[in-house]
Amino acid sequence: MLVDINNLHISFRSRTGVFEAVRGISMNIGAEKFGIVGESGSGKSVTARAIMKLLPNNAVIEADRLAFDGIDILAADEKTMRGIRGKRAGFILQDPKYSLNPVKTIGVQIAEAWYTHKGGTRREAMQAAITLLDQVKIRDPKAVAALYPHEVSGGMGQRAMIAMMMAPDPELLIADEPTSALDATVQAEILRLMEDLVSSRGMGLILISHDLPLVSHFCDRVAIMYAGKVMEEIRAAELNRARHPYTRGLLECIPSLLQPKEQLAVLNRDPAWMNP
């Protein structure tokens, strides 16, 4: 198992008390496309960050087991984590505008990722960066490598982000809402690209999204989270036949182009979902 999570709790201490964001979840993720869906505040993003130990200092992580490829994340020191972050597990965030360095060209940033993890000369790193840009299907990789992030579109920026994450040949890619800031046409392209890369390299992928239909089409398995707990875990293709009332409720309140409704269904939250 690439990622092994058992009874994970994440809480945040603040001036006024302790807030428990994740309340005992378990997941096993291999070399597959695994989706985590839920509303904002359901704990999906903090779960992903906990795997990389990328939470602020006031966060308390507790688990019976939290492991990446057999390495105990909870016991790991910073040095071990640096060997995992970026190198063995890449992280793609929502908006390339904020996750790329605005004062370095795209080529230099990708070369830096390659050089840090693989060594070699600067010249080799730059060559590798151009090859990677080509792999993420950028038409003129040499010209794009010389551009700054503000000079490219959102879709191009996200491709550059993916190229950077691919540089050290990671075994796992975590994508947190990678396409929510992009147009529908670009979204389809980016997903197709991620699909190609993940299947051709035999990587694992964790896709975090609020978009149920998208996850259902793209992933193999999906976990549905609500208020820090996993409501159910099912095969993504069977999402439309989900049984859990929360999942059903979410699916039913999505407006549809093809099946219009006079009035949209509203989600009635059952207090029992808090403690399944």
Binding site: P255, L257, L264, L267
Partner: protein
Amino acid sequence: MIDVEHLRIRFGEREAVKGVSFTVPTGDSFGIVGESGSGKSTILRAVAGLNERWDGRIAFNGVNAPLKRPPAFFRKVQMVFQDPYGSLHPRQTIDRILSELPMVHGMPDIEQRVEKALSDVALPPTVRFRFPHQLSGGQRQRVAIARALIAEPEVILLDEPTSALDVSVQAEILNLLVDLRRRRGLTYILVSHNLAVVSHLCPRLGVMLDGEMVEQLSSDDLRAGRIKHPHTAELRALTVELEDPVEV
């Protein structure tokens, strides 16, 4: 109610809107869809009077709107923005946010108007003395709608009103908007990138591509695929692809 004719807007060298025309009858709602940068929000801001540099004609009830709108205009035409986190003053209470507009326009009975606006958008009266950060995203968007309603407008311009919200909250806000339009005979222009949201709220819509409105059609035609322009077909295909259940 609203006539837009040959609307052109340029920012420096770049022409963002290249001669767009459409008409919205009273009590109707018109949707504008398109990708980012296609000019859809730019049109809405010009109609709202937030941009004073445009060419062409914008008319309400047959009366041409001047480039600089008189104060009374902003009572009749109100706008609701995308991000309820950014559009409410963080250090003002909901009461202050809602009473500002009637105060500016010298409207009487502010107290009752604020109470009524909150009940119109189905918020509890206790919300009145809270701050925006104490409310959820959906509640904040309701406050933004209440602020638009308190002016007793005839037209509400909606710029991606639900795209920052969860689908569960989106459904509540869309139901509220449908209900308000019906009860008060409001006229809407809705800008969104989501075809399902637009077709739910608007019987007619226009498709923007690179500053031009390449097609206007009814939601029924869009649904049935009676489409003329390839860009409309492309946007529809992307929506339909995700709506189709996955083959197992």
